[in-house]
Amino acid sequence: MNMDEARGADPLERALLDLPLEEPPEGLRASILLATAYRPAPPFSALELALVGSLGAVALWLIVLLVLGGGSLFVHTLAAMGSALSRTFSNMAILAWVAAGGATAVWLTLFTGFQPAMRVSHRSERSAGR
C-alpha cells in the first residue's frame, strides 16, 4: 500500500501522516558525516602503528636487559640477535620467499589500483556555518 492510499479514509491517520517532521538541530548532518562517510583518515596506518609499537617493545626490552644485567648481557644479547638475523638472511630459501612475497604485494597493488584515503568533505561542521 502506498502513502496516498494510506492517506485515504481516517482523518486522524491523514493528519498523522501529514504531520511535519521535527527540525533537526543545526549541524547534525555535518557531524554525522564527519563521524562516518567523511571521517578524516587517521594520521598513522595500522601497519605504521604496529611497526612503531614493535620497535618500541624491542627497545624497552633491551633497556630492561641493560638495567638488570649490566653491559655484558646487553652486548651478548645484541650479538645473539645480530647472529640470528645474519643467519636468517644468509639463507637463500628465506631470501627467495621474501622476494616472492614483495613482488606479489607490488603486483597486487598494481592490479587492484591505489585506494586513496577518504577525503574530508567541504561540508564540515565548522563550514556549516555554526
Binding site: M1, L12, A15, L16, P20, L21, E22, P24, L28, Q115
Partner: protein, 183 residues
C-alpha cells in the same frame, strides 16, 4: 532520464568505498531518524546524540545489512535501540518510570490553547504512553507498513496493530478533550 539510486544500491556503493553513497543515505534519513529519536526521548541533545550514534553504528556494521532488506527499517531499528538504551540509563539513574514521566511540562490540556492543529496533534502524541507513542511515530514515518513497524520494534504484527488501534483511540479522546478545553 537519470534515476536516483535506491537505498540498496547506495549501501552497495558505500561498501565499495564510495563515501558519497553513505552521505546520500544520511541526507535521506537523518531527519526521520532524528524525529523518531526526539519523539522517543523528548530531549534535543539526547535525540541528537542518539541520531549520531545510530548512523555511526550503521556505518560500522554496513556489511551486516542484508541485501533486499529495507534500509529505513534497519536504520530506524538501530535508532530505536539506541533510544531504548538511553531510556534504560535514565531509568537506572533516576528511578522514575520514564519516559512517561520524563516530560515535566504542563499536560496536553494546558498546552494546546491557541495552538495549530499540528502542534495540538504533537502534544496529544506526547501525552501517550511510550509504547503507543513509538508505534504512532513509526506509523507517521513508515505509513501503514505494519510489518516494517513490527520489525523495527521487534514486536509481533498483532501487537503492533493493537497498539496502533489503542493509540488512535487515545489520540481521538485527547484531541476531543483539547477541543472542549479550548472552547
Amino acid at each position: 532520464m537519470k534515476t536516483e539510486p535506491d537505498d540498496g544500491d547506495l549501501v552497495a556503493m558505500a561498501l565499495r568505498g564510495q563515501p558519497e553513497a553513505f552521505a546520500t543515505l544520511v541526507e535521506r534519513y537523518d531527519r526521520a531518524v532524528y524525529h523518531l529519536a526526539y519523539r522517543t526521548l523528548h530531549d534535543v541533545e539526547e535525540a541528537r546524540d542518539a541520531t549520531q550514534e545510530a548512523f555511526f553504528k550503521a556505518f560500522r556494521s554496513l556489511r551486516t545489512f542484508k541485501p533486499g532488506a529495507k534500509f529505513s527499517t534497519w536504520i530506524f531499528a538501530i535508532a530505536y535501540h539506541a533510544c531504548c538504551d538511553r531510556l534504560n540509563r535514565r531509568k537506572r539513574y533516576s528511578g522514575d518510570e520514564l519516559p512517561e514521566r520524563a516530560d515535566t511540562s504542563p499536560g496536553p490540556e494546558q498546552r494546546v490553547i491557541a495552538l495549530d492543529e499540528a502542534t495540538r496533534l504533537r502534544a496529544a502524541i506526547d501525552a501517550l504512553p511510550e509504547k503507543y507513542r513509538t508505534v504512532v511515530t513509526l506509523f507517521h514515518l513508515q505509513g501503514r507498513q505494519y510489518e516494517e513497524i513490527a520489525a523495527v520494534l521487534g514486536l509481533p504484527l498483532g501487537t503492533v496493530k493493537t497498539h496502533l488501534f489503542r493509540a488512535k483511540e487515545q489520540l481521538r479522546r485527547l484531541l476531543g478533550e483539547m477541543e472542549v478545553t479550548e472552547s
